[in-house]
Subunit: 238 residues, 2 copies
Amino acid sequence: MADDSRTSSPRRRYRDQVRAEIKEAALEQIRAGGAPALSLNAVAKGLGLTGPALYKYFRRRDDLLTELIRDGYDAAAAAMSDAADHTAGAPPRERLHALATAFRTWATGAPHVYQLLAGTPSPGYQAPPETVARARAVLGPLLGVLGQGDCRGAALALRAEMRFWLNGSPPVEEWVRSWAPDADAATALAGTVTAWARLHGVVGLEVQGLFQGMGHRPGTLLHAEMEDLADAMGLPAA
Amino acid sequence: MADDSRTSSPRRRYRDQVRAEIKEAALEQIRAGGAPALSLNAVAKGLGLTGPALYKYFRRRDDLLTELIRDGYDAAAAAMSDAADHTAGAPPRERLHALATAFRTWATGAPHVYQLLAGTPSPGYQAPPETVARARAVLGPLLGVLGQGDCRGAALALRAEMRFWLNGSPPVEEWVRSWAPDADAATALAGTVTAWARLHGVVGLEVQGLFQGMGHRPGTLLHAEMEDLADAMGLPAA
DNA sequence: TCGCTCTAGTTAGAGGGTCTAACCAGATCT
DNA sequence: AGATCTGGTTAGACCCTCTAACTAGAGCGA
């Protein structure tokens, strides 16, 4: 891609370059010791700078953290979106498995980032509100797939609550409509929330290493969970 | 209970008292700002002491953290155990719901503790190995309930892996047998692992505040998840 | 009851962290 | 070419964890 000539003055280019290097080094630190191990001082030293120099690039430590989280959401959303695109036209059950696998692959490939999105990374850390929008982008592709099913049994109560939520919150309604225009919104939403919880359940435990030494591959559990969800929502296999 | 006269010399009693106060103050800090906000210095000041005094009670900050985590597991195990006891003799489906509710009630009542058990609380923090045993005590009661079901569909592959795991790991086999002596161990284990993942999925998201402003009570989602699991494992309702 | 011991507390301080203030040198823009 | 803007510096205030050395007093045996 050609650089945008407006924003790519030599200074700007250099600045972006250094910012990227800082983020990379920060990720390396987090990979080694979790979010609280991130030290601007240490990052600076790793880049051959002194500590305070980094404050020219990130006003505070939390800003750097926020940006890493933002990037994490974007990567997850991209992975999900790719999986949805590559299975366009496939039966919904197959697409659900593809999305789940994409989610798990992304999370286990960058477990520290996953924990970053999940935990309380810093003493007074407050997730910025735009986080909600980014989380929605990750889950979006699920809406289109699960909107092709229908709720039954215990999921009916859940769907009723989703309907209530949709009625009271236009942006949510708009979000669902944009990803699943032809589906019943409450059904798509109920299925997606359930899928979200199951994905987080399996992947969250795996990322924390709680399946270590269990001698079972979490992929099997995730597959079973999604298969069961597909059954419960009546998703056609072919 | 009468104190054990061997271990309750006046000094010992005083020491235990202060330790308890430290833990309480530490929990208060964590409640306010998450695990990384825990500062021995601040705790000490809160108790009217100087910083280094606390090192007479806890060798390092992580030791305090570990003890809090230990207590957390114990509280969770007690909650689960209580729920199991109070529903002894009830139909398994009902007991499953009772266990799930107990788990969620405990977790949402002390969300900071739940996050403590889940996250990476400290830069180089290493969970002690006994953690595994304590986690097993939490999940134990589920074994007895879910051992009364049977796997079908996609859960069969999961059960096969559980059987493999059981064969290779005698302590796990012993754990399952102690909680579900009459059941097929692999079935009980497959059901329990699935329940664990679903509990963590729902409760983990709730505890992180991700359901905030969703206008739906997570209890509904959890109920639906457990109901679905009971269906999938063929647990009788009455 | 006397005196030894043991301990909960103290202060001092090393070393590291975030972040601000003040300053400097050189690249950029007019 | 000169004014400006910026990426870098050092100094330092204020946190933190944790160690070392010391003190005052409580507990305990004779």
